[in-house]
Amino acid sequence: MAILEVNNLYKSFGKTEVLRGIDFSMDEGEVLSVIGSSGSGKTTLLRCINALEVPTSGEISIGGEKVYSSTEMLGKSRADQRRWQLACGLVFQSYNLFPQYSALENVMLAPRLLAKEREDYKQNRKQISEEIRENALSLLARVGLSDKISNYPCELSGGQQQRVAIARALALSPKVLFFDEPTSALDPQLTLEVLRVIRELAETKMTMVIVTHEMKFARDVSDRIIFMADGEISADGTPDEVFSDTTNEKLSAFLGNIQQ
């Protein structure tokens, strides 16, 4: 069964149509990279799937559950969107860590706030809080930052900040993890350490969607690549298929420009 399904998704800002009928679905454990030139709608697609923008029309299902449907008026209220967003995890280009909290606190904050809504929170307060802490510590260990748990974001390098952001997104056990150009703000050295973490996640069969400009990485790590142009999916296939496709003019132009 598809873990993420996007049907006929449209999004306009005023008169500009940014997404023009996006259709795709992906299976659990799949790693999908979205490539395309600036302005092709990659980031808007990601933001729509993560409820940061409300699509103009279409349908989105995550984990078999419909989270957005323009015809059923689903996914418009804040309560709907909250449930929807909890099924996703998103890693931003600019990290967006909370500067006043340490790395560990950044990872623990959302799970702790969410735990307060659990029915057994009052009785098992201590235990729940301890579990969240343990989980956060193991996530930070997984991204290789066990020695930085009490550092504040301003004391960390860009790559370290982005790894904390990945741990933070994983802390809510999302069904699908999204990356919005996770390395665009990093120099090559720091890019490598972030990509290593994403690669390790791919090995654990985490379902991921990665919007990226790192072609080599996309080719190495993904099971599938989507090429977007002018708000539409112009090519969709395995990395080998997409990178060797010579019939698609837009794709050839895009890949040609990158190689130069």
């Binding site: 993560n50 409820a51 940061l52 804040r78 969107q81 909250r82 967003q85 909890l86 996703c88 995890g89 998103l90 931003f92 600019s94 967006n96 860590l97 909370f98 500067p99 006043q100 904050l109 959302a110 706030l113 969410l114 504040y152 974001p153 301003c154 933070r168 997104a169 809510l172």
Partner: protein, 235 residues
């Protein structure tokens, strides 16, 4: 009792009034300012559905944001007129216009001060809140936080850090402004000192500076301390 002792007692008593005005104004204006700040950032547009209308007039009406416009007009009036005048208005207007005389002159002073400072604070808050990047809100959103959680756990602490310097400035101005209460005969420190001036003694009037300097000295140290405390992170 020596003249010095008499003057000292009188001035200290007078400064007590200044301190009351200072404390009550702060306690009231800090939360009130936040409410005004929210009002001045309100995006509520009840006629939004005219946005796509073909008629230009209706399109113009669609931009009406009543809460924001009302609060901004209110802030303009409060910041655009002298506090001294506002004290008079609060003291006399209820009696003259509504036939409900103000209970005491001190009450009028406290109301005028609280409202005046709330308006100034609201603009400082607004600057602080609008300075927080959109990414912070979006990060909260995708982590499933409610609006209230995002504001109180993530945004507000950062706003506090940002507004400490301008708030310190404003609060120090407040200490000195409290002496305006004398225009409606609340016997604050300068009014007390003037009683001695009328007897030919200028010393007490000049000495009032010591009270203000001491008080503001403490405040400066306090704000420096808070700023240092919050310096553990950047951003």
């Amino acid at each position: 009792m020596s003249t010095f002792e008499k003057a000292f007692r009188s001035l200290t008593e007078g400064f007590g009034e200044n301190c009351i005005i200072f404390a009550v104004t702060l306690l009231a204006a800090i939360p009130l300012g936040l409410i005004i700040a929210f009002g001045s950032m309100s995006k509520w547009r009840p006629f939004r559905f005219f946005e796509r209308s073909k008629k230009r007039l209706l399109r113009a009406i669609s931009h009406v944001a009543p809460i924001r416009w009302l609060t901004r007009t209110f802030v303009w009036i409060i910041r655009g007129t002298p506090l001294m005048l506002q004290i008079f208005v609060v003291l006399y207007a209820p009696g003259l216009l509504l036939d409900i005389p103000m209970r005491s002159r001190m009450t009028a002073v406290l109301i005028a001060f609280a409202v005046n400072y709330a308006a100034y604070f609201s603009e400082i808050y607004r600057g602080g809140i609008e300075g927080i990047s959109k990414g912070q809100y979006e990060a909260c959103q995708v982590l499933g936080m409610t609006k209230a959680q995002a504001f109180f756990r993530v945004v507000l602490p950062q706003v506090v850090k940002r507004i400490i310097p301008p708030m310190g400035n404003e609060i120090i101005t407040l200490v000195k402004d409290t002496s305006l209460a004398r225009v409606v005969a609340v016997s604050e420190i300068i009014m007390c000192a003037e009683r001695f001036t009328k007897q030919g003694l200028i010393g007490p009037l000049f000495s009032t500076a010591i009270y203000f300097l001491a008080f503001n000295g403490i405040l400066t140290l306090l704000f420096g301390y808070i700023e240092k405390k919050l310096n553990y992170y950047r951003g």
